[in-house]
Amino acid sequence: MSKSSDKALNILRALPRVCLANIRDNPGSKQRCRRGRGQHGGDKHGDGNKGSGQRQNFMRLGYETGNNPFYLRFPQEKYYKGHHLRRQYPPLSMLTLQTLIDTNRIDTSKPIDLVSILNTGLYKLYPDQHQFGVHLTDEGADIFNAKINLEVQWANELVIAAIERAGGVITTSYYDPHSLQAMINTVKFFQKGVPIPRRMMPPPDAIEYYSDPSNRGYLADPDKISEERLALAQKYGYNLPKIEEDNNYDMLMERKDPRQIFYGLHPGWVVNLKDKVILKPKEEELLQYYAS
């Protein structure tokens, strides 16, 4: 007998006897059960047996199987009345403005308008969503100390006082959506090769705000504005810095024309960025159209 068969017999001696518990079926003697159809062998994909879970007939949103639904239960209230007509002014806090100035994102040696705020890239404006410009909010008004010539679209009394106490000037001015679209991406607008549009007058419900000297409106009388500056200084109790004696008097007194959109550029001009020339209209009809 060979060695290996000897070994095998030895192992067999140690193993238990063959019985029903340790034998298996002959190969091929048992047939496999039915092949299930579908992805998981014909099971229910985790949706349970019967009912709305399996049929996926979900109730519509807010439906409460016959109850008076929650979303119809309460009396109506005109929360959103006229929302599509009201102008929106996304806020910019004075704290943020101070940070933009301190981090050299805004040059204070030139007048600051919406274009320079938008060019920082940290303030976004969407005229198609009824947004009409910057609303300068009073957060951080206590620590504001930059002397600037600022033009925003909405400001309250405290903001005006904080700017003027620091020796600056502020103007509130209105831009129509077409002008705003030109200001958002100036390069893109100039590349279109269309003349700079003239700024439209504010709508009737905004005229009052923008011609009010207490709001420093751009349509207000300059003499009345200087009176209001003095009155506000007395109200808040600070000494009004004299901008007449200031070194940057010319910069501080620079204002846009009510029809003007960009500083230094007039409506009707075409800016050619490729040839670096500015084309100005000469025809009398055009000059009359773009005159303020």
């Binding site: 949103l61 119809l72 309460f74 929302h83 102008r87």
Partner: protein
């Protein structure tokens, strides 16, 4: 078996025969004839098209049913649509909760006590799950913040006053 059935049928016929008057009422041969005539007149097209000649009648036949489902895909543009009933009754604050009025705030005020009337004038929060439902029932536009100036709801859009819910970094005051 068959005989019994026949006999039962005979009995039934006899009962019907006794109530001859009622049978006539059931049949109403004159009405049937009218219906036939009407059908025939439509088919013979002596009046070209009855429906289009009388638009008012057609309009009366159309039954308008209320559907307040969320439109997931509109017919024209395939866009989701808001449920206007939600916009009419609720207001969304920017931090995610919706506010609503109270039921019965205009009803039977003569018998309600002053404190109760004061409570009815208030606007209250919806719960988190209710706000979630309302969020789903409106479009993106209503979930975006609106930057109106001089809006009475402006102070409620943030929760900076409460230390747990405030978002902005707190100002640093150096120790003295």
């Amino acid at each position: 078996m068959f005989r019994t059935l026949i006999s039962a049928a005979r009995g039934a016929v006899s009962t019907i025969a006794t109530n001859g008057q009622k049978i006539q009422n059931f049949y109403q041969p004159s009405l049937v004839q009218q219906a036939y005539q009407r059908q025939f007149s439509l088919l013979s097209s002596q009046t070209p098209c009855r429906l289009f000649n009388q638009p008012q009648e057609l309009k009366n036949q159309v039954v308008l049913t209320n559907t307040r489902n969320v439109t997931k895909y509109s017919f024209r543009k395939g866009k989701r649509k808001s449920v206007k009933a939600v916009i009419k009754r609720f207001y969304r604050l920017n931090w995610g909760v919706w506010i609503r009025t109270l039921c019965g705030r205009h009803k039977r005020l003569w018998k309600k006590s002053p404190p109760r009337k004061r409570r009815l004038r208030q606007h209250v929060f919806c719960s988190a799950s209710q706000s979630m439902l309302l969020d789903k029932m409106v479009c993106d536009y209503w979930r975006k913040p609106k930057y109106f100036v001089d809006d009475p709801y402006n102070p409620y859009h943030t929760r900076e006053e409460f230390s747990i819910t405030s978002r902005k970094p707190k100002p640093y005051f150096p120790p003295e």
